[in-house]
């Protein structure tokens, strides 16, 4: 009796392992098998004809008050859809986590119908061959895309065609502590315009106490690759080759060029001289330093303005100024970053794709964008949102926000300010931070640091390009 049972168990065990092995090998050919029509844009009739309710998932990466604004937007959409469509918003963690989970969902063939992906994930999304390009829906419906801010649309367009709908957009600003300027006898209404001016003012704005301890630094910002990308754009310089990856796949990054090295050197000198504090890469820590009043000039996104104004209440006045340029001769402007919405085609029915598009259209209309703008602090992607009453009230209350909108409108769309499309852009950004940090903490000279950093990402670029072409 004993032996046969043991053998049976053995057989079952072997079968189990074999089955597991087969499943694992089977998943390697990840799904581009959706056929051509999977990436087509269906018309409104698919929903009208449908008898039942269409439910889709929307993966997003918004936290805190921004998540509340997403939930409100989704609830408003569901309420007005007349029971035809239900969108379920699912928070997936930060931007990095969301794209990582999206990659896994492609392998498991369980992608959401709609996903919010950060700007630097755009090239990957195009190459994933999973998404319906947004311009197909725009053409299908004769949707008026002219209201979408051209500078914002520029980022998400390849060959002049929009691939995704911008959702939350932010621009970088120079933040100033008004009282720190006044104490130093400086005029806060005349903010510095370029890095050299910031450097000069930083010296005057650095304050030491009687014992020689620094109590206020002139300048402080996170070692955040995004800030460098912005500075290069203000100088009209492209971040990667092949026209910022828009004429063809970018084959190398260019943050070892002279302008980038100059930025790294400028930052290093300020830190070495004791005029700037180095709070590391965490944006939270740099923000805390500015909010605590220990930093007089600071670079950050518009999206933190609301938090700054609240935190500084009763302590100091937060002023905003246009993002500085690298030198007085720079003529470019910053990149409009943020994240956008992508509609998944592969593995989704025509009804689901259409439902996703209906939500995208709803989210980008002026009324919703005005609510989104005032609820989150992101720049409205629809220019008409600024004419809404709720938006005018907000601007009156927070005049500092005017700077971001003015800066956006003053900027002529260009290749440099469209930003770099690169499949491994998140890794490139991280590499540029490696370079900046190595220079700032003094472990390498600035030029060497930026050169090594650019080289370090080359392998990833090459292998990415090999696997998509």
């Amino acid at each position: 009796m004993r032996k046969p049972r043991l053998r049976r168990t053995m057989t079952a065990f072997v079968a189990l392992v074999a089955a597991a092995a087969l499943t694992a090998c089977g998943d390697s050919g990840s799904g581009t098998d959706g056929g051509n029509d999977a990436l087509d844009a269906p018309g409104a009739e698919v929903l009208e004809k449908a008898g039942d309710k269409t439910t889709i998932e929307f993966w997003h990466a918004m936290k805190g008050p921004n998540a509340a604004a997403v939930d409100q937007l989704v609830a408003d959409f569901n309420a007005q859809s007349g029971g035809k469509v239900e969108v379920k918003a699912v928070f997936q963690g930060g931007y990095d986590e969301t794209i990582a989970k999206y990659k896994a969902s492609v392998q498991q063939k369980s992608t959401p119908a709609l996903v919010q992906i950060y700007d630097i994930g755009s090239r990957f999304m195009v190459d994933s061959k999973q998404v319906v390009p947004m311009h197909k829906f725009i053409e299908k419906d004769g949707f008026n895309a002219a209201d979408i801010e051209p500078n914002i649309a520029n980022y998400y367009s390849v060959d002049g065609k929009m691939w995704s709908m911008p959702f939350n957009s932010s621009t970088p600003l120079l933040y100033l502590n008004k009282e720190a300027f006044e104490r130093a006898g400086l005029d806060p209404t005349k903010p510095p315009k370029d890095l050299t001016e910031i450097g000069e003012l930083a010296k005057k704005l650095t304050v030491k106490d009687a014992s020689g301890k620094t109590v206020q630094y002139g300048f402080g910002a996170a070692i955040y690759g995004w800030l460098l990308e912005q500075l290069l754009a203000t100088d009209g310089k492209e971040y990667c080759d092949n026209g910022n990856g828009r004429k063809g796949l970018a084959s190398k990054v260019q943050f070892d060029q002279e302008t980038a090295v100059r930025v790294a050197q400028w930052w290093t000198d300020l830190v070495k001289g004791g005029y700037a504090t180095n709070t590391g890469r965490k944006t939270d820590d740099a923000q805390a330093a500015f909010k605590a009043g220990t930093v007089a000039m600071h670079l950050e996104s518009t999206s933190v303005l609301r938090g700054y104004v609240d935190a500084a209440k009763g302590k100091f006045t937060v002023l905003t100024a246009p993002y500085p340029k690298v030198s007085s001769s720079s003529t470019g402007g910053p990149i409009i970053g943020g994240a956008s919405l992508w509609i998944d085609g592969v593995g989704h029915s025509a009804k689901e794709k259409r439902a996703a598009w209906e939500f995208v259209k709803f989210a980008s209309n002026p009324v919703e964008q005005a609510k989104w703008h005032t609820g989150t602090g992101y720049v409205p992607i629809n220019g008409k949102a600024l004419d809404e009453q709720i938006d005018k009230g907000w601007m009156a209350k927070f005049p500092q926000f005017r700077t971001a909108v003015d800066q956006l409108h003053a900027l002529p769309p260009s290749v440099a300010s469209a930003g770099c499309l690169l499949g491994v852009m998140p890794q490139a950004r991280k590499a540029s931070e490696d370079g900046l940090e190595a220079a700032i903490v003094g472990s390498k000279p600035a030029d060497q640091a930026m050169k090594d950093a650019a080289t370090s990402v080359q392998g990833a670029i090459d292998s990415y390009n090999k696997s998509v072409s």
Partner: protein, 280 residues
């Protein structure tokens, strides 16, 4: 009777191990799925200087989080042997860090080390000392993360060693005292040798633990500044999951290296240290 455990082991240990080996020999498509066979390519990449730095950081981190935590706990336990009032309360207090999860403890240390509003710099400031860049200076970040790790491991070490001390037979100590042994002599000749099984256990377990540490590094420094705290586990995480990277091939190859390192560390510890362990 053995079969169920063999099945569970095969599914959750041998299968992932085999899968890791398989992945380490393959490239990845842009979604992270294994693509072409690349042989030892990922292992060759590790011969670069950068990976050498990762290994050195791992070794330093392990050394400076294991040794102080074990020796420090031993010292405290020996002191707590003194028959003073409130010693039980003290013992509980010292063991308290055990109750904190790595994430909670790391967040507390992140607040302590915060460059602008941190408690550590606040204290230094009130003493008139200029602020220290705890987590942003490459030469200070690793010791700072080690110190946090030592604090986290301290409680567990105290618990294990206290249990060991209370298991020492009073007759032995009594006999030693009758022979005139006190203080340092009693500790070094009687208590510590009798604690050697616990000490050995702690060294082995904390070494493995340190080699696997992730939470405190992720929360405090994210491997920075300038890679100063990028240990092997953190490097595996970065290759596989961080910054939209899905280089599971390279990450798996590094995981295999980590396994080999852990096995050899443990083997060496058993080969050399265990000979000096006195089992009762």
């Amino acid at each position: 009777m053995l079969m169920p455990s063999v099945v569970v082991f095969a599914l959750f240990v041998f299968w992932p191990l085999g899968r890791t080996l398989y992945l380490s020999l393959h490239g990845n498509d842009i979604f992270g799925a294994p693509s072409a066979y690349v042989g030892g390519e990922h292992y060759r990449e590790m011969l670069s200087g950068e990976f050498g730095k990762v290994l050195a950081t791992t070794a330093l981190f392990t050394l400076f989080s294991v040794v102080p935590a074990v020796l420090g706990a031993l010292f405290v336990v020996l002191l707590l042997e003194a028959h003073i009032r409130g010693v039980r309360a003290l013992r509980t207090a010292f063991a308290l860090p055990f109750a904190f999860s790595v994430a909670t403890a790391s967040v507390i240390f992140a607040v302590i080390y915060n460059p602008a509003i941190g408690v550590a710099n606040g204290l230094l400031g009130s003493l008139g000392i200029d602020r220290v860049n705890w987590l942003t200076d490459p030469s200070i970040a690793l010791p700072a993360v080690c110190a946090a790790t030592v604090w986290m491991n301290f409680g567990y070490n105290i618990l294990v060693l206290s249990a060991g001390v209370s298991a020492i037979s009073p007759e032995v100590v009594e006999a030693a005292r009758l022979d005139g042994a006190t203080g340092w002599r009693l500790a070094s000749r009687i208590t510590v040798p009798l604690l050697s099984p616990q000490l050995f256990f702690l060294v082995v377990v904390s070494t493995i633990h340190a080699l696997q540490s992730f939470g405190q590094i992720h929360i405090l420094t994210k491997g920075g500044p300038d890679q100063a705290t990028t240990t092997l586990v953190y490097s595996i995480y970065e290759k596989a999951f961080a910054f939209g990277s899905s280089d599971f091939g390279a990450a798996s190859a590094q995981a295999v290296v980590l396994l080999v390192i852990m096995l050899s560390c443990t083997a060496v510890q058993f080969g050399i240290l265990e000979r000096r362990v006195h089992y009762r």
